[in-house]
Amino acid sequence: MTIALEVKSLSKNFGGLKAIDDMSFSLDDGGFTALIGPNGAGKTTCFNLLSGVLEPSAGGMLLHGQSITSMPTHLRARQGMGRTFQIAATFRSMTVLENIEVALIAAKQDKFDATALLDELGIAEHTDHIITELAYGDIKRVELAMALASMPSVLLLDEPTAGMGANERLSIMELIARLARVRGTTVLFTEHDMDSVFGFAERILVMDQGQLIADGSPEDIRSNTHVQQIYLGDEATLDA
């Protein structure tokens, strides 16, 4: 198995605060991995470092064996790194289809079937609607569609189902997992909903206070006492 993304001793300080503290891990090609941890653990900061929104204070990362540590965001994207944002970011002056078009133009994809993807995501009826006319759950879907349309090899999803109902979450996660499997995409996602995490992740990384404190299969993590402590013995959440 080759490594898609390798993170080496990554650190990020904001003034005196160590938001990310000496974090190392690697993602195998085609893996479906969750990154969890309590609020403020550093998940989003980690994503921002991986995608190049923030510069690391120390350490670095390799994408398919190539160092991307000092590469600007757009070049990382062209090397195959896609992402979504915790608060969905879309182009609000455009229709749903135009949003996807931008992704396709940027990724130089001209044979992609945007309609089919919108159909699968359940937003086909909104194809020609301006983003501002959509409900938040649908905007999340549009952003996901943009990220998927650019056919990334590594996809970072920051809370992909936030703001959706329980049934919706399940179907979206199923769709993401299926597309990732078919395409061989490496996925790293954060999520507060434990059903999504334990139901879909093949591997779980747990962060607390900027550090990686556990790494293993869902069973390993479920039985990890350190992780249970951090979630304040809230086993109901983990077992659900």
Binding site: L75, G82, R83, S93, M94, A106, M146
Partner: protein, 607 residues
């Protein structure tokens, strides 16, 4: 050595008034997130009011009263205009304060007249002190002290008083403050009063050094923008350090290159921005509001295309029946529509605010004039040189501009245009200074009014159509993506900075071509083409037409030219323009195109 020390003290004295104005601007920005373009006007009012009061009473009382009066004027500005715009995109806030600049300028002209007014010397400080044998005016030493006192007082206020703590809290997180039960409107009013009073004090204290005059507002605001960009917006210490730096550069620059003191200031700003994009003491503000409203392009479908084609047919046929003054007026409108169309592209589609679009127009105009005078080339070659030179200017200004956004961008573009303007005035051997360059006439085949009309129509309509095509096509789609959500665009692989740079260059080239045609239509060029009013004209045309309508610049230029033709003979035409700007910013942010489209929606609904 002693001479240099004396020069250093002169620099410090000038730094004081610059610092007072910059500090006021910074405090207001920190709390309200509004860059007050009219801050230079408040400085000017300070000087004029101090002059008038000092005619009846002592100088020191006049200074105090001027500061209080200007503070009150600032408070009125906040209540009357700006408070309606706190939720508006940055562009409209900036534009509204610019409207106030025009209104205050004409008000000052009306009250105090066009003459420079020489104020009294400061009683008790008329003499000079000898330091190392060099004469130093006592008043300069007093100004240096005042600068330090105000620095200490503001520092103390912000660190130690409840008001200061609230102001700092508001700067960090305005919403949190509201959640804690502090009424922001009271704080905003107080801030505006204090910020304006500081500017008024600065202006009043200038009176013994220079006469009160109508140029003070724009002269100081360009320098103040350089100061706050260098110092970092919202930082008092930063403003102080930057005011010192700029004043010393002026004091010593004048010894070495008397012609280019402003250029030195700009170079300093450039160096700082390369290493510290948010200024010496500035921080990246997390929550930056949108520069412009995010909206889809406003198109008018079949009716729009029909209107466009009919307009073109009418324009082509027009010289056959219209009187020649109409033909001349229309040629001018074409040029201004092109000038505005470039700005519209970068500002509407790209969200890149410019208050210095005249820089490119002027570069094109001077470029064309200089190649004709210097190399004796023909008009067609000059019309190639004009956009090329403007394009180079846009490459350089754009290189700095893409490092900035929103209000910083507005300040940088204004400062850049102001510097080119002063270069055009001061570099007499090349530009002819205030006398301009005369006798730039079109090729013989285009001297006839009608022939020139067709030339202007062909060049302008082709370029405008190209710009509309760009903004509605793939290129515009990607540019809008960078405007709507830059992080999202970057994460998809779009090089945001490169797209924005390209947009600025396209805007610059278009304006440059417009400037080139303009020179041949007038036969001459003067520094005016680079001046702030010319930039404002372009802005007004874009906003009047409608920021989101690709045809906006055409409508805007047409209406603006008619207004100017009808009203510019009125004595206070600039104030009328200012009032129009304020009204458009507050009540019609989508311009005339927005009004049309609203009417259309109403009509469709009623049928």
């Amino acid at each position: 050595m002693a001479f240099y020390f004396a020069q250093f003290l002169t620099g410090l004295a000038s730094a004081s008034s610059l610092f007072l104005v910059a500090a006021g601007l910074s405090i207001i920005f920190g709390v309200t997130r509004i860059v007050n373009f009219a801050h230079g006007s408040l400085f000017m009012l300070g000087a004029f009011i101090a002059y008038s009061v000092s005619q009846h009473t002592s100088f020191w009382l006049a200074v105090t009263m001027a500061a209080i009066a200007v503070g009150t004027i600032g408070w009125c500005m906040e209540r009357g205009v700006l408070r309606k715009l706190y939720a508006a995109p940055e562009l409209f806030q900036l534009v509204a304060t610019f409207g106030l600049v025009l209104i205050i300028q004409d008000a000052a002209l009306w009250i105090w007249g066009p003459m420079d007014l020489l104020g009294p010397r400061a009683p008790g400080l008329e003499g000079v002190v000898r330091i190392f044998g060099e004469p130093i005016p006592e008043y300069d030493l007093f100004l240096i002290t005042i600068g330090l006192v105000v620095l200490a007082a503001t520092w103390w206020t912000f660190k130690r008083t409840r008001f200061g703590i609230l102001v700092r809290a508001a700067t960090e997180d305005p919403e949190m403050l509201q959640a804690l039960g502090v009424k922001p409107s009271t704080l905003f009013q107080a801030t505006f009063f204090i910020g304006a009073a500081l500017a008024g004090l600065g202006g009043a204290l200038e009176l013994p050094r220079q006469p009160a005059n109508l140029m003070m507002d724009l002269n100081i605001i360009a320098e103040v923008f350089v100061v706050v960009v260098i110092g970092g917006m919202g930082s008092i210490i930063g403003a102080f350090l930057a005011a010192l730096l700029i004043s010393q550069l002026n004091a010593f620059g004048i010894l070495i290159f008397p012609e280019i003191t402003l250029v030195a200031a700009f170079a300093a700003m450039a160096v700082v921005l390369i290493f510290k994009p948010y200024g010496l003491m500035g921080k990246l503000s997390i929550a930056t509001p949108n520069a412009v409203e995010i909206a889809p392009p406003m198109t008018f479908g079949r009716i729009g295309s029909f209107a466009g084609v009919s307009l073109m047919i009418v324009l082509v046929a027009l010289p056959f029946f219209a009187p020649s003054f109409v033909v001349v007026l229309l040629s001018d409108i074409f040029i201004f529509a092109l000038f505005a169309a470039g700005l519209h592209y970068m500002m509407g589609t790209g969200g890149l605010i410019s208050f210095g679009h005249a820089a490119f127009f002027g570069l094109g105009a001077y470029g064309a004039a200089l190649v004709v005078k210097g190399f004796g080339v023909s008009m067609p070659m000059a019309l190639v040189a004009a956009p090329v030179l403007a394009g180079f200017g846009a490459i350089i200004i754009g290189w700095f501009a893409i490092r900035l956004s929103g209000v910083y961008l507005a300040m940088l573009t204004l400062a850049a245009a102001q510097i080119l303007w002063s270069t055009a005035i001061q570099w007499q051997s090349v530009t002819g200074g205030d006398d301009g360059i005369l006798g730039i006439w079109p090729s013989t085949w285009a001297t006839d009014t009608t022939a020139f009309y067709y030339l202007a129509l062909a060049l302008c309509s082709t370029t405008i159509c190209a710009l509309i095509y760009l903004s509605l096509g793939q290129h515009g789609l990607l540019l809008r993506a960078t405007r709507d959500a830059a992080p999202r665009a970057a994460a998809l692989g779009i090089n945001v900075k490169a797209r924005q740079w390209l947009a600025i260059i396209i805007a610059g080239v278009s304006a440059g071509l417009a400037g080139g045609i303009f020179v041949f239509s007038k036969g001459s060029v003067f520094p005016d083409v680079l001046a702030i009013p010319n930039s404002v004209d372009a802005l007004v045309m874009v906003l009047l037409g409608g920021l989101h309508a690709p045809v906006g610049p055409i409508i805007g230029a047409g209406v603006f030219a008619l207004l100017e033709d009808g009203l510019s003979r009125l004595p206070y035409w600039r104030a009328l323009l200012g009032i129009t700007i304020v009204i458009v910013a507050i009540y019609a942010p989508n311009g005339l195109a927005g009004v049309f489209s609203k009417l259309r929606v109403l009509r469709t609904k009623s049928t």
